[in-house]
Structures are given as structure tokens and as C-alpha cells.
């Protein structure tokens, strides 16, 4: 994404290569963003328009797989999980495993849906990722470091989901 800052305007609809020649023309078209027609303006034809969505989709798929693995470990009842005493959100390690597994599968599927670029998929993805973060926060006493990693991945997903251009609201 940082690469895009140095690229200059990408011709909309063109077959611009990411490493194209630096633009010599003025950057702004009248009435558009002062930054010209880059990925951030949401012009759907730009190669960068899909980059952000792809980023969110890829991290979601990874987070989903991590959740599935976490879930399988929990269902199998491994010794990697700590014994927890009195706890308001106490559940069987197996129950937490199923929760992680199901949320992980949903995240994986939503990540694939996000790849399509639909707006509803992104809203669903934000909600699902939020659920995943809350579940990991609650299950943290059982395996703190896994939960911390999963929460970090989830926050990155949410950032990516909000930071991508919305193709439906293209202003060009």
C-alpha cells in the first residue's frame, strides 16, 4: 500500500502496470481529489482498488485458518491450555474449541467473500472479525499468547476492511 504513494496517478481503465513511468502531467483533474485518481479515490479500474480488498481477504483467510487450528487443538483437549479456576466466562476447553473452530470457518468463508469486493461482505466481515476478537479476549486465560496473536490479526483485518476504497461509491 505504501508503494502507491509514490506511483502518481494511475490512468483509470488503462492497463497500467504497477511500476509504470512517473506521471509528468499535473496530478489533479478538476473536481477530483487533489491527489488524482489513485487507489484511494475508489475508481474501480485501478489496480490498487483491489489491493486493499485483497489484503483484508488474505489476512482474514489466515486468521480463519489460525482459528480453525486453535479450535482443533481445543477440541482435542491438549495440554497447551491452562487450567482456569473461577471465571465468569468459564467454558470447557472443548466448548471454546468449537467456538474457535466455527468462527474460524466463518472468517475463512467471509474472507473469500470479501475477495469479491461486495459491500455486504465487508460489513459482515467486520462483524465476524469483531466476534472473533471478543471470543479470543474471553478465552485468553486458557492460552494467552494465541489469543493475543488472533486479536492482533483481527485488528489488522478491521483496519484493512475500512481502509479500502468502496467501489460502489466511486466518484469518478
Amino acid at each position: 500500500m505504501a508503494m502507491a504513494d509514490s506511483e502518481g496517478p494511475t490512468p483509470a481503465g488503462g492497463s497500467a502496470s504497477p511500476g509504470g513511468a512517473p506521471s509528468s502531467g499535473g496530478p489533479s483533474h478538476s473536481g477530483e481529489s487533489p491527489f488524482g485518481g489513485g487507489w484511494w479515490t475508489g475508481s474501480g479500474d485501478s489496480i490498487w482498488a483491489s489491493t486493499g480488498v485483497n489484503l483484508a481477504a488474505v489476512i482474514m483467510v489466515i486468521t480463519g485458518i489460525a482459528g480453525i487450528v486453535e479450535g482443533i487443538a481445543g477440541i482435542a483437549g491438549g495440554d497447551v491450555f491452562a487450567k482456569v479456576g473461577k471465571y465468569a466466562f468459564k467454558l470447557d476447553v472443548t466448548a471454546w474449541g468449537w467456538i474457535h473452530l466455527i468462527i474460524g470457518i466463518l472468517l475463512l468463508l467471509a474472507g473469500i467473500a470479501v475477495y469479491g469486493g461486495a459491500r455486504w461482505a465487508r460489513m459482515l466481515a467486520v462483524v465476524l472479525t469483531g466476534l472473533s476478537i471478543v471470543a479470543n479476549f474471553l478465552a485468553l486465560p486458557y492460552q494467552p499468547l494465541w489469543s493475543i496473536v488472533a486479536i492482533g490479526l483481527g485488528v489488522f483485518v478491521i483496519w484493512a476492511l475500512f481502509s479500502v476504497p468502496d467501489r460502489q461509491e466511486s466518484r469518478s
Binding site: W40, K86, Y87, A88, V134, F137, L140, V155, I158
Partner: protein, 131 residues
């Protein structure tokens, strides 16, 4: 925001901040519930300048978490007041979690990091319409 170009306030600009505040609000509430129930996940702390009963910390987490949650919803309106309150609340959550870190370090570390991100997101609109 207002001093930028005449671009309309983008709904997506504060979307990230809203989502993050709703999320941290829910997390704070659950953190509070666990503490009020006097759970064993909280360690016993000896002499400590900011020592409070675990239940007391729980009520603080619960109350502040609820306020953060409400502010997260208020941010959907794009209100500048909601942003300012959001920054103050996120800062308060950050400090509360710093103070009660000895009781449950991992949760506090996560909440501190998330609230830093909340403050960042309140100052930076993201999305296609935000420059």
C-alpha cells in the same frame, strides 16, 4: 475533518473509529464482569499504591466500557463532540488498564494497544473519501 476540503463528511471516515470503540467497549464490559465476579484469572496483588478491590476495578471497567460503547455508536453521526469524548474516554481506558495491569497483564496490554489505535483512528479518517 472540517478544516479540510469541502468534501462531505464520509460515513466510512469514522467507521473504523466506531467499530473499534464498540469493540473495546464490549471488551471492557466483559473485563469488568469477570472482575466483579472475583474470578481466579485475576492475580492476587500485594502492596500496591493503586490497590483497589478487584470488584472495584471491575465496576470501573464496566462503567467506562459502557460509555465507550455508547460513544462508538454516537460516532456514526460524525459528531465532532463524539470524537472529542472518544479521545478522552480512550485515554481514560488506557490509564485505567495501565493502573490495573498487575491484576491481569495480558488483558491490560491488549486494551492499551487497542485504545492507542482508537485514538489514532479518531484523528485519522480512513477510507476512499478520507484523505
Amino acid at each position: 475533518m472540517a478544516q479540510h476540503s469541502p468534501r462531505p463528511a464520509a460515513a466510512l471516515g469514522t467507521g473504523l473509529a466506531s467499530a473499534l470503540m464498540i469493540l473495546t467497549g464490549v471488551l471492557g464490559i466483559t473485563q469488568g464482569i469477570a472482575a466483579i465476579a472475583n474470578d481466579d484469572v485475576y492475580s492476587v496483588v500485594g502492596k500496591y499504591a493503586f490497590k483497589l478491590d478487584v470488584s472495584t476495578w471491575g465496576w470501573i471497567h464496566l462503567a467506562v466500557g459502557a460509555l465507550v460503547l455508547l460513544t462508538g455508536f454516537a460516532l456514526f453521526t460524525g459528531s465532532i463532540l463524539a470524537r472529542a469524548i472518544g479521545v478522552l474516554l480512550a485515554g481514560a481506558v488506557l490509564i485505567v488498564n495501565f493502573l490495573d495491569l498487575p491484576y491481569e497483564p495480558y488483558w491490560s496490554v491488549i486494551m492499551i494497544a487497542l485504545n492507542l489505535f482508537v485514538i489514532w483512528s479518531l484523528f485519522h479518517d480512513v477510507g476512499p473519501d478520507a484523505a
